[in-house]
Every structure is written in structure tokens, then in C-alpha cells.
Symmetry: C2
Subunit: 225 residues, 2 copies
């Protein structure tokens, strides 16, 4: 046993921040919805104090919006907000790519290569679930590989915000194919340890994701169900 490992003792509010953020990102709590303190307290079995502490944190992270004397609402996912968020996330992705190229070791690289193959299989099978999983694994591994806590934190929050958008529009076949191509390129650049190239490609990958999303949203506007 590693004695330098600090004993994991989590407080209620920390637990709640994670749980509630998840509920928001997973679209269980819907955008614009009020967050009923009492109800949540009852269902989670905690008092209002830690719940409210968690809400303040979530508000600072941008997942809920607080209005004085009117409690908390789940933050809505507007197109304007996405158009602001993606470029920031893309900048961080670029840095992730650069650093990962420089810092990752062989074991990490192999793990990514394995996830990449999983991703390709999932694509062949058109298995969205498995695709998202493998995709997440790759990006997670790249971030770990960058070895930068600050980057990881900020990336995590922005990525979570962006992830909420997946409930707004489906991944189109076209975009899916393009994403696969981009990932192939990323693997090549990573293999070649081309930090600059990987950074630029990852940034572009993110911005293309935004383009596809905007396009999908516009298509929706034209044919409202």
C-alpha cells in the first residue's frame, strides 16, 4: 500500500457537486428547469445546507444559474453559448495535443492505439454507444498524457458543457465519417510525435464539431417538428 496516498474522505457537498453535475450533463435535469431544493434533498437524503453549497459551485461552473430569492435553474444550452465555448475548448485541445505529443510514454501511446482500434470497430458496426465510449477514452488519455492539472480541470468543465449539446442534435453520418478521418490523422501525428501538427488537428477537430452542430441546428430550425 502506498502510504503517500491521502485517505479519501469526501464531504457531502463534494459528492453532491459530482452527482448534480452529472444529472445536468446527462440531461436528467433539463435546461431551464428549476432545481427544487426540497425535492432533491428528500431524494438524495441530505439537508439543504450541503445541497446549496453544491449549487453555488455548480453555478460558478456554469451548469446552473442562481437568481437571488428565486433559487437555481439548470443553465440552458444556447447556440450563442456553444459558439463561445467551442473555440475556448478548441484552444485547450490544441495545447493538449502539443503537450501529449511531448509527454506521453509508450504505454500510454499503446493504450490510445487500442482505444482507437475499438473506435474504428464501433464505427464499422455503427455502434454509437461504443463509439462515444472509445472516443471518450482517447481524449481522456490524451489529457492525462499532457500532465497538466490546470489544463485538465478547465478542459473537463468545458468538455462537460459541450457534451450537453449532444441532446440537441444527432451525429450525422457525414460528420461521423469526417470525425473518423480526423482521428486517423491524429493517430498518425501522434505516432510521428508531431506536436504542432497534432495540436492544430485537434483544434480543427473541435471546430469542425461545432460546424457540424451548428449545421444540424440550422437544419432543425428549417424543419421544426
Amino acid at each position: 500500500m502506498n502510504l503517500t496516498d491521502s485517505i479519501k474522505r469526501t464531504t457531502l457537498h463534494e459528492e453532491l457537486v459530482e452527482r448534480l453535475r452529472n444529472l445536468v450533463v446527462e440531461d436528467v435535469l433539463k435546461p431551464g428547469e428549476k432545481v427544487p431544493e426540497k425535492q432533491l434533498c428528500d431524494s438524495l437524503g441530505v439537508s439543504r445546507t450541503p445541497l446549496r453549497e453544491a449549487l453555488k459551485v455548480l453555478a460558478s461552473e456554469g451548469f446552473v444559474v442562481l437568481q437571488a430569492n428565486r433559487g437555481a435553474r439548470v443553465a440552458s444550452v444556447t447556440r450563442a453559448e456553444l459558439e463561445n465555448t467551442f473555440p475556448v475548448l478548441a484552444s485547450l485541445e490544441q495545447l493538449v495535443g502539443e503537450l501529449a505529443c511531448q509527454q506521453m510514454d509508450a504505454v500510454e501511446f499503446q493504450r490510445i492505439e487500442s482505444s482507437h482500434k475499438d473506435m474504428l470497430s464501433a464505427y464499422e458496426a455503427r455502434d454509437r454507444q461504443a463509439y462515444f465510449k472509445a472516443n471518450q477514452d482517447i481524449h481522456q488519455a490524451l489529457i492525462q498524457g499532457a500532465r497538466n492539472d490546470i489544463l485538465e480541470n478547465h478542459h473537463k468543465l468545458l468538455a462537460a458543457r459541450v457534451r450537453r449539446a449532444r441532446f440537441m442534435a444527432n451525429l450525422s453520418d457525414e460528420r461521423w465519417a469526417q470525425a473518423i478521418d480526423e482521428h486517423e490523422a491524429m493517430m498518425e501525428l501522434l505516432k510521428a510525435r508531431d506536436a504542432d501538427g497534432l495540436g492544430k488537428t485537434m483544434k480543427l477537430h473541435m471546430m469542425n464539431k461545432l460546424s457540424a452542430l451548428v449545421k444540424a441546428l440550422e437544419a432543425q430550425d428549417e424543419t421544426p417538428r
Copy 2:
């Protein structure tokens, strides 16, 4: 009176987040120091509840560190942390530069030009106080000019963390002169609306700041007082 202006009603915890963050950034609360809830409550005239809510937020922002059952401590400013923070901030600065070039209007540009002149005067007079002020104004204006809330938020937090480092080492004459040169270049690029160029220069500006800081810290290590 503008009736569309929403009535500003701030809650205690919001106020406290700002106040406490300031105390940390301004080095009133020293790194590593314990944050005594009771004392702060007394001196600020609030109960523990809103103070503790504020501490949770500050912790998520990285200004304090919470230990279960042992309260909050002011986060220390380590070299490793700075070496992680600066590259992230530099990435965001790059984006700020690119966007500001594209989005700023003539009025904003003139305001920056004016602050830039103030900065040069302060440098001639070797007035550190005035220099920092003008410098802040310029960077603040650029961020506003980028018109991106998300970028502004994340930038604000990282910049605040980095600002704490100024109590670790003084601005050297050499670095000061270099910074002035970089700012001159920035103004030229902004005037020319060279988004790419300004972005790169601002990124470099930030990374050079880190280099100077690290150099100063290393010099300190060699000659400990």
C-alpha cells in the same frame, strides 16, 4: 433611468466570493495559511453559512484548498503549478488576441491606444504602480473586445492565479524592457488587424513572462536571504 437594467441584487455568498478571492490574490491571506471561519465571520459581519458557501466556490476555483474536517487553507503558489498555469493562460491569450483583432471596434481600439500610451509614460517614469494599472487596462480591454463570456471567465480565473505570483519575485529591469517591446509589437499587430500575429505574440508574451519568473525564482534559490 434605464428600465431594462435589471435591479442589482447580490447575495451574501457572491459578495464574499469576490471579497475573499481578492484577499487571496492581494496576498492579504497568505499561501498555506488557515482560513479561520469564525474570525472572518466576525470581521465581515456574516454568519458561517454564506462564508462557507463562498469557500466551496473558491476551492473549486483553486484559491483555497479544503480538507475534510480540517477546514480551508489558502492555496500555495508552487512553481510546478505556475508552470502548468501559464501555458493554459497563454493559449487563452492567443485566442483573445485573435478574436479581439476580429471583433474590436474603433472606440475600443482608441481606448487601448490611450492605455498603451499611459503604459509607456509609466515605464519612462519607472512607476511600477501606474505601469501595472495601464497594463491591466490593456489586457482587460482586449478581453472585452474578444466578446466571449466563456473565454473571459476562464481567463479571469487563471489570470488571478498567476497574479498571485508577483509576490514571489520582482519585475526585473530586463524583463520590463522586453515586455514593453512586446507590447509595442502587439499594438502594431492590432493596428494592422493581424489576428494570427497578435494571437501568437500574446501567447509568447505570456510564456516569456513565465520564463522571466522562473529565472527570478532560480536566482532566489541560489542566493537565499
